[in-house]
Subunit: 325 residues, 2 copies
């Protein structure tokens, strides 16, 4: 006789509702409960088919997007593109600007689970948030390594770092400095740094890396930038890990009398639409933001339908030739 949900509940020693919640990835569930239910399902060889699950699953048609802020050319475009695609698939979008505050991100997660979103796409910065581990909610990460069960969509950060560094070297720069996020943030973006270091060493040049914190205020950031020029006045190339920082670096450099690109060549990173309009002269590594949004949404929808999904997806990048190199 085929096992029923009651049998699973009985064997696992939990209520039918809990079994249903485990199967449908709803609400907060402890690892222990999830394991008990999965063990019982395995033991009884209980395999609810997808159609049946959809039937008794309460779809909310809500998807949560947790990103640092939409007040940024990269994240604004990413969220906008995802929203457009989700809308076309019949989903409404709940946003949470986590501002890289782990407390706020934790609260968002808890509350989005309460609002019973059907899935989450996250690109927030914070690690070690238990809620990501204790839910079976379908989640997709963009450019952030959450944990091994969550697929990551990113662009080819290593290639981007290589292209940027090589472009500076090919144009005669020798003292090339790279700026990046603090290294404690585990993101694929750290590969830009590795690629920079590898490319420098391969060309017999010395890698010099400075940290510019995404979250620091303008004054703090400008002071950090000034420090770079004070400690390395002979710098002739800069590979900056995002375009907003690149704009500030260029502004500080011009204020100090550097001519760009004659004295100093600069390559940014991201190449968002807004940046291309406001700062068209910036030479930068362009991430395929619209494509990243598309792949993230498709991966999430796949995860909602079944437990399998494409493994991590890495998308190609290219150089936009402005006038700063």
């Amino acid at each position: 006789m085929k096992a029923k949900i009651d049998d699973v509940a009985k064997l696992a020693g939990v209520s039918k509702t809990t079994v249903s919640r485990v199967m449908n990835k709803r609400g907060y569930l402890s690892d222990k409960t999830i394991k008990k239910v999965h063990d019982a399902m395995d033991e009884l060889n209980y395999h609810p088919n997808v159609v049946a699950r959809q039937l008794f699953k309460q779809e909310t048609k809500l998807v949560g997007l947790i990103f640092p802020t939409v007040n940024n050319p990269f994240f604004g475009q990413l969220v906008s593109e995802m929203e457009k695609r989700l809308f076309n698939l019949g989903f409404k979008v709940l946003i949470g600007d986590s501002m890289n505050d782990p407390k706020k991100e934790k609260l968002y997660l808890q509350e989005l689970m309460t609002h019973q979103v059907d899935g989450l796409i996250v690109g927030a910065h914070n690690q070690g948030i238990e809620e990501y581990k204790n839910t079976n909610l379908p989640i997709v990460a963009i450019d952030r390594i959450m944990n091994k069960d969550i697929p990551v969509v990113s662009s080819d950060n290593y290639l981007g770092g290589q292209l940027a560094t090589q472009l500076l070297i090919d144009n005669g720069a020798k003292i090339i400095i790279h700026t990046n996020d603090p290294q404690n943030i585990k993101s694929p973006a750290q590969k830009r740094r590795s690629a920079y270091e590898d490319t420098m060493i391969k060309n017999g040049l010395k890698p010099i890396v400075y940290t510019l914190d995404f979250d620091s205020n303008t004054d703090t950031k400008i002071n950090s930038i000034k420090k770079i020029f004070k400690e390395h006045p002979d710098v002739d190339g800069l590979f900056i890990s995002n375009d907003m920082d690149a704009a500030q670096v260029i502004d500080v450099a011009r204020g100090l009398g550097y001519k760009i690109p004659e004295d100093l060549k600069v390559v940014g990173y991201d190449g968002a639409d807004v940046t291309k309009v406001l700062l068209p002269n910036l030479t930068t590594v362009v991430q395929p933001i619209d494509k990243m949004a598309e792949v993230a949404v498709n991966t999430l929808v796949e995860r909602m339908k079944n437990d399998s999904y494409d493994s991590n997806r890495v998308l190609p990048v290219k150089i936009w030739r402005g006038k700063t190199v």
Copy 2:
């Protein structure tokens, strides 16, 4: 004897649920139904107090934000600031990027009502959407005139237009052209145009206005901009109604050989944070975006609590002196 909700329902000839929905501004209601219920309430002198209403009102703690797109420095900052404030007040935010598509905006409205948001803040472009009239949902508009029952939060667009035009005149410009949205969009921003025209005429100068459509693609926009310079090669001042357009105008002008500010002075509009970082040299009229977000959120919360609210709020603007004038 004090009238009860049943009495209202009976007199209005509708169900108790409908009366409750009218009082709590939930879901789609025809003008006719709303009027019948309000008439019955008036006739019976039925005044449910706010506390009682809160008690039987199903709060969702969801607020919908309908704006053209978060992929824009002005709207990105506005939505980000509103989300932050709403989060602190215990609300989650549903976003709808309407892309100035009336069909999409209509769908958003219908679906947000289905998801039973507690209120809406809208800054979308479209007029004549019936749903805005047929709901009693608390709504606040930013910079858009929806209908007379919806409070509007805006910055002082007339003052902004005056300051920008006068700055160009004071710096010696004589052939000053203004660009703005199509005039069929009824927004307080059209006051920038009136202020420009008034200021030009007061100074004995001839107003010349061109239309640049917010929604047109880059190529179309660049062609429109080129047309301005072709028809007025002797232009020496430009007052552009938003910074993204101003950036594109500057790029086209430089490509045509104009030196800025020597040959041509340019003033933009908005002064969003992202723009100040990416294009710090742009002289522009700064809207108090964070304050607009604060006032809009506070007005919405007031409207949720009771039917009265501050009338339209107009916030001050100021000039940011970059290097384009």
